[in-house]
Amino acid sequence: MVIAVALFAFWQAADLPIGTLGGMGPGMLPKSLAVLFGVLGALLVLGSVFEAGPPLERWSIRGPVFVALAIVAFGLTVRPLGLVVAGPVAIVIAAPASEEVRWVETIVVGVLMTAICVGLFKFALGLPIPLAPWLMGY
């Protein structure tokens, strides 16, 4: 519960200054919403002080870190290196997010899935997604 309180305090602190960024006219709505948001957050914090809530669930770090890294890696590589590289890279980075990694299996699936996606999205649907610009020029 303490963590939740701390998070909400941080949350409020973060959203209020952001709310004042806009100019007068256009900023009116975001500002008032930010204030409302802050007030509701404060209410929740107050409520949690007086009333014991359910205990927080366990947080895991492993899943979020690897999945987020994998997505970012995909975003970074898809333009310059193409789907042929980005697909396996994302899959290999994401795999350790699960506690039961099997590397050989992962790599096989990565290559296979990429091939399927290339076939499906590039050739069957003709989406303008780069394949391997360094190899084929597109």
Binding site: P26, P54, A95, V109, L125
Partner: protein
Amino acid sequence: MFDLIGNLGLGFATALSPVNLLLAFIGCLVGTLIGVLPGIGPIATIAMLLPLTFKVDPTGALIMLAGIYYGAQYGGSTTAILVNIPGEATSVVTTLDGHAMARKGQAGIALGIAAIASFFAGTVATLIIAAIGAPLTKLALLFGPAEYFGLMVLGLGLAIVLARGSVLKACIMVVFGLLLATVGQDLETGQERLTLGFDDLADGIDFAVLAMGVFGIAEILRNLESPEARNVVRGHIGRLLPSLADLRRSFGPIVRATGLGSMLGILPGNGAVLAPFASYTLEKKLAKDPSRFGKGAIEGVAGPEAANNAGAQTAFIPLLTLGIPPNAVMALMVGAMTIHGVIPGPLVMTKNPSLFWGMIASMWIGNLMLLIINLPLIGLWVRLLKVPYRLLFIMILLFCCIGIYSINNNPSDVYFMAFFGLVGYVLIKLGLEPAPMLLGFVLGRLMEEKLRQALALSEGSFMTFVERPVSAALLLLALAVVVIAVLPAVRKGREEAFQE
């Protein structure tokens, strides 16, 4: 009446063209394929498959999207029955008796009755849309900005009430959504707001990116946490077609649930979510032997499934007539329509009748197709469900990445998806439901626009919302709904209702 038949005729003529039929078929098939994957609900499915429709003309694209939508819905029920993992809130109820039936060796019958119930509900709901779509559209043209604003406030009020957990938390999420919606260029002056200097945020946050992050990625993260605990029903599925006795027992629940679902689905603010719960409670109350429920009662599958599908379909009514998406899935449909140059609202029906009626007719065709293609394919879905999650999640992840990248061909969308995935994970952990936030986000822009228009017309006086009877009534209703939900007595009942 003649209008109705003529319109439906036009619709079927459009929807039955070979190309459109093929598109509906592909939509249903891939929609089910992705929807079957555990933890992937209709929202993530549609966001992922949106790029599939890009190369098709608007009518065809919408028909395909409708197919994907129904496929995703049905795929979710399949997962609920076979694996006991609901893909989204509305199939939670199906897991209760559906999975119990599957464990008794009646998985086939449960799936069969779900398909039949969905088909019946879909047929009725299609007729309802066709019948009241036109009159409602006329009504919608009389609505001014103040009325629209009132209606959207009512929608958000209902969304707060219908969310699980505390009312305060739901309020917070709605406001959070509204706040997110203000990111991007100002509507009138074009000045950038809350973009933190990111150029990519100037156009605002893309809805598909937000939805995919919060519902797709966050869901993966949550599933990764719990070690593999899926118990896919082993052994045979059993026969698919329910016996005559089963059908007779299910008939009443299906009819009642269809009515219930159709009414709740029309409500702004995601009334459809409530429909399966309401149907389940109703059938349990009406049953001669309520103790059978939860242990594999066929009524407990037939009713909620019919309610779910009816609600899912009538949810199109506010979208197509008023242009107001009542839930997150419909908001994605808005996004998809806008990409194809169709602005949902009262004008669609008059300006583009073949698109409007074609889509309605294809809803029915989609339901029929699901019935036909899914029953023989259930074996395939079962095998798909046996793939371990450590392999499934990387595939889902890759599809999410490609899908989001393809919408705008912009790598920054992919980063934002990762970011919102983490945000969604934190929200789930804090017990904050993302659905109200998404609705707030969806309605935010439209609400700001209407609010400003209304205030401009009234020269800055807020009295305009109270002086106009319709908007005053809507706002009052919204207030009443939220106040009632906070009252202690009702609050207790609401908690009980969600526990079931």
